[in-house]
């Protein structure tokens, strides 16, 4: 274990979906709203057409130039909490 490969920010894979933080938002029309998003230092432009609730500072899951889902910061701990809860239940 250990020594697992570190994440590459943007690989040329159509299937890849990566979380990113919204830095700024441009446009009013819900279908044409775009954001500058940050992938740990790399900044790209994404369409916000499918996340009308997105605001500056939110994290979104991005895929081929689109934010396709909000990342729920409260649920982000589930992977770590689940095992603890399961073990306590045993």
């Amino acid at each position: 274990m250990g020594g697992w490969p570190r994440a590459k920010s943007l690989e040329d894979r159509m299937c890849l979906s990566i979380p990113a933080k919204i830095l700024s938002i441009t446009g009013e029309d819900p279908l044409l709203r775009t954001a500058k998003v940050d992938f740990g230092g790399v900044v790209k432009e994404m369409s916000l057409a499918y996340v009308p609730e997105a605001r500056i500072g939110n994290y979104v899951l991005t895929h081929v130039g689109f934010a396709i889902s909000m990342i729920d910061e409260k649920e982000a701990e589930f992977v770590f909490e689940f095992l603890k809860n399961t073990e306590e239940a045993l």
Partner: protein, 368 residues
């Protein structure tokens, strides 16, 4: 540089804890299929299958859109480039997928105008910049990519881009899963549903599959911690004789999915029977442009009629995509078939199971 909401799920200590827990709760052999090529990629890259007890077998599913795009559709794309001299915009993954006689990269080398795009909207920019040329976007993908591809069609119509069309090869996961479960050879006990597909569609469709086949399904993410938790949740259900849809990927997936994206899919696409490379034609398993957008369908516009053509290369990707053959058990693997000379699509795409085994197993372990 760190990527929040990504790297913390790659923690080796977390993976080890899950692997130990799974080993503790497993009393019988279980066969679990991961649906998505991205999950297969993570499993092989991080060696997740090797962390698990021997009694848990991970079966790799058909979830690689590049891999299941029919050879006849690749041939149609090449015909557009060579015969109709269009500018073809495509995701980079499609360039080296073999058609019946060549691939798009070869067509490009022969002077064809093939351009890699990151987003479907980039293809619109190409169409705007070249009003004198026909520009075709090669719209492949599962439900995850469908809303982005749909938006390209929608915006092209808004912008009045008459020189833009799409060659569509859009596939849907639930019908493929049902086809696998219907097949008499399937011995699957559980299923990890693709998290990013479900981010769009939600997971109601999987609840009806559970109802019909009594197989537990866990909506699962893509990082090692996610996949191990998904397996853990699936094994817990199997061990207690329970079959439901559970959601591991709660930080991204809601039961009802993404409403805005679903609305756009309904506006642009309709459900259609679809040929899958390796699986044959499955009822109601694909999307095509609906009548309002038919004029933008490249098959319609150019009078293409992609006929089904069979693999002639000895490639067994059909068995690989059904989870019936492991890549390294294929007699061609690493011998006549490797990424520089792929016999089939599963060795080309980075999401393809054969390419993952080659890159993370064959190359590294051959050197040992």
């Amino acid at each position: 540089m760190t990527l929040k909401y990504l790297e913390e799920y790659r923690d080796a200590g977390l993976a080890k804890k899950y692997a130990e827990h799974i080993a503790r709760i497993t009393t019988r052999p279980w066969k679990i299929m991961e649906a998505c090529g991205g999950q297969t990629h993570s499993i092989i890259k991080f060696g997740i299958d090797r962390l698990l007890p021997k009694s848990i077998e991970l079966v790799h599913g058909p979830g690689c859109p590049v891999c299941v795009t029919p050879m006849s559709t690749i041939d149609a794309a090449i015909e557009l480039v060579i015969r109709y001299r269009v500018i073809l915009c495509t995701f980079g993954d499609m360039l080296r997928v073999p058609g019946s006689s060549q691939d798009l990269q070869t067509a490009k080398a022969q002077g064809g105008d093939v351009r890699m795009v990151y987003s479907p909207l980039d293809a619109l920019k190409v169409a705007k910049a070249h009003p004198e040329k026909e520009v075709v976007f090669f719209a492949v993908g599962f439900e995850t990519t469908a809303p982005a591809n749909a938006m390209a069609a929608f915006q092209a119509r808004q912008l009045g881009l008459e020189n833009f069309s799409m060659l569509v090869s859009q596939v849907l996961v639930p019908p493929a899963l049902e086809a696998l479960l219907e097949s008499s050879t399937s011995e699957l006990d559980g299923f990890l549903a693709p998290g990013h597909v479900c981010a769009i569609t939600g997971f109601q469709a999987y609840e009806s599959i559970v109802g019909k086949y009594g197989i537990p399904i866990v909506v699962t993410g893509f990082e090692p911690g996610d996949i191990l938790q998904g397996i853990d949740m699936c094994v817990q259900m199997l061990e207690r004789g329970d079959a439901r849809v559970e959601n591991q990927y709660t930080r991204v997936v809601r039961r009802e999915g993404n409403h805005e994206a679903q609305k756009m899919l309904e506006t642009v696409f309709e459900i259609t029977p679809k040929a899958w490379r390796g699986l044959g034609t499955l009822a109601a398993s694909g999307l095509r442009l609906n009548s309002a957008f038919r004029a933008m369908d490249a098959e319609f516009r150019f009078g293409l009629n992609p006929e089904s053509s069979e693999e002639r290369t000895g490639c067994r990707s059909g068995l690989i995509l059904q989870g019936a053959l492991k890549p390294d058990a294929c007699p061609e693997f690493g011998k006549t078939c490797h990424p520089d000379h792929p016999l089939g699509a599963t060795m080309v795409s980075t999401e393809g199971a054969c390419a993952a085994y080659y890159r993370y197993r064959y190359l590294t372990e051959k050197k040992l």
